[in-house]
């Protein structure tokens, strides 16, 4: 009986509360539920935009004739978009930037004091990350860099270009970009098949798969003034939700 009493009070006064099993198990359950919830509930768009690119980042093998034509004007990017792929042409318009555009091994172009600057990167192959206001990284190879109408090219086939400090931009255009998936809760307008189907969005879900075309962000100095992103190209399928939901999937 005495032995039984002793066994009932097994307690460690020096127990490490920080490494408590209870908290670890609760954290584990929380992490598992979090992953499964976002995977199966379709609520991922609540936190902002979700964009993914093709596995190989190569857009050349996308057959345009099998896809829908799409033109969308949506809210600006809320989260940082990171792309690593080939892009036919990147156009950047900045004003008042103080960054350096590094060219090749030693060269650089100082943007400070240039006022409004227009940068064209042709046949880009590398990484670019940006959101609705800033470009955070550009690193890759291009065939030609044009800054304020002065082209720079290399005797080699390509020239390395790099911008690795955050740089605010007015306008950004990616021509020939591929987005494997784009999901957002957004307002704006979406047109399919050259405007045969037009939808006005008011804070509604947009889910686009397999977009290939021209993506712009910011406000262009020329044409209609609009802040946000535009997608002009082709998609494999799309799903627009709200008070009612429309899904477009090409058959045959």
């Amino acid at each position: 009986m005495r032995e039984q009493e002793v066994r009932q009070v097994i307690a460690n006064p020096h127990a490490n509360r920080f490494f408590s099993k209870k908290w670890i198990i609760l954290s584990f359950i929380g992490v598992v539920l979090l992953l499964l919830f976002f995977a199966f509930s379709g609520m991922d768009f609540i936190t902002g935009n979700v964009i993914s690119i093709g596995e190989d980042g190569n857009t050349d093998n996308i057959s345009l004739t099998e896809n829908f034509k799409l033109y969308a004007e949506l809210d600006s990017l809320k989260e940082v978009l990171e792309l690593k792929q080939k892009i036919k042409l990147i156009t950047i318009e900045v004003s008042g930037a103080t960054n350096n555009v590094y060219l090749g091994k030693d060269g650089f172009f100082d943007l400070s004091g240039t006022g409004t600057t227009k940068i064209l990167l042709e046949d880009f192959d590398g990484s670019i990350s940006f959101d609705g206001d800033n470009i955070y990284l550009i690193k890759g190879k291009v065939t030609t860099v044009t800054i304020n109408d002065f082209p720079t090219s290399s005797t080699d086939d390509s020239i390395n270009v790099r911008i690795d400090d955050s740089m605010g931009y007015d306008f950004l255009e990616l021509e020939g970009v591929y987005l494997k998936k784009y999901e957002s809760l957004s307002s704006g307008e979406v047109k399919f098949d050259s405007g045969k189907i037009t939808m006005q969005l008011d804070n509604e879900t947009v889910s686009i798969h397999g977009f290939r075309g021209i993506m712009t962000s910011g406000t262009n100095k020329i044409g209609v003034q609009r802040t946000g992103i535009t997608l002009d190209g082709f998609v494999e399928d799309a799903n627009i939700g709200g008070d009612f939901e429309i899904s477009l999937v090409k058959t045959g």
């Binding site: 002793v6 009070v9 097994i10 307690a11 460690n12 006064p13 020096h14 490490n16 490494f19 670890i24 954290s27 584990f28 992490v31 598992v32 979090l34 992953l35 499964l36 919830f37 976002f38 995977a39 199966f40 379709g42 991922d44 936190t47 979700v50 989260e79 999901e183």
Partner: protein, 149 residues
Amino acid sequence: MEEKRKRNIVRSSRKGYIPYYLMVVVVMLIILYIIRNDLPLNRNALIIAVAFMILILKLTEVHRITHYYELTPHMLLKSEGIFVHRLKKMSYGSMSQIHLNRSILDKIIGIGTIEIAQFSETVRTEIKNINKPEKVLYELAKRIKNMQE
């Protein structure tokens, strides 16, 4: 000249942390499943999951390094903590009973927990999840016997 004494330190086996390692494996498998099936993988949830996995692996190792038992010639020292270091000294003469507890799983993976009861305390001190527990039990029993004779 004092002869340098070889320290006889006992630490918990990594096998004792298998349940925590299994948690990491489960989280990794869920992430792989989500990626392979092209399901939405929330970035914030992914960051939390990766942080959880790193934290578990780090914590288990830190816990193992900072919690140890040392068999000195006259007493058993229990040491734990980095920032708040706690040291408990138990004379072999003050130990009344020692027990070896092993579940079926413990036997399969070759670990065990030794419980030490002292005359002066109603609570027991545990040397948890150690490799070759019989050997440590025998060594402790020998030292207790020598001290109490």
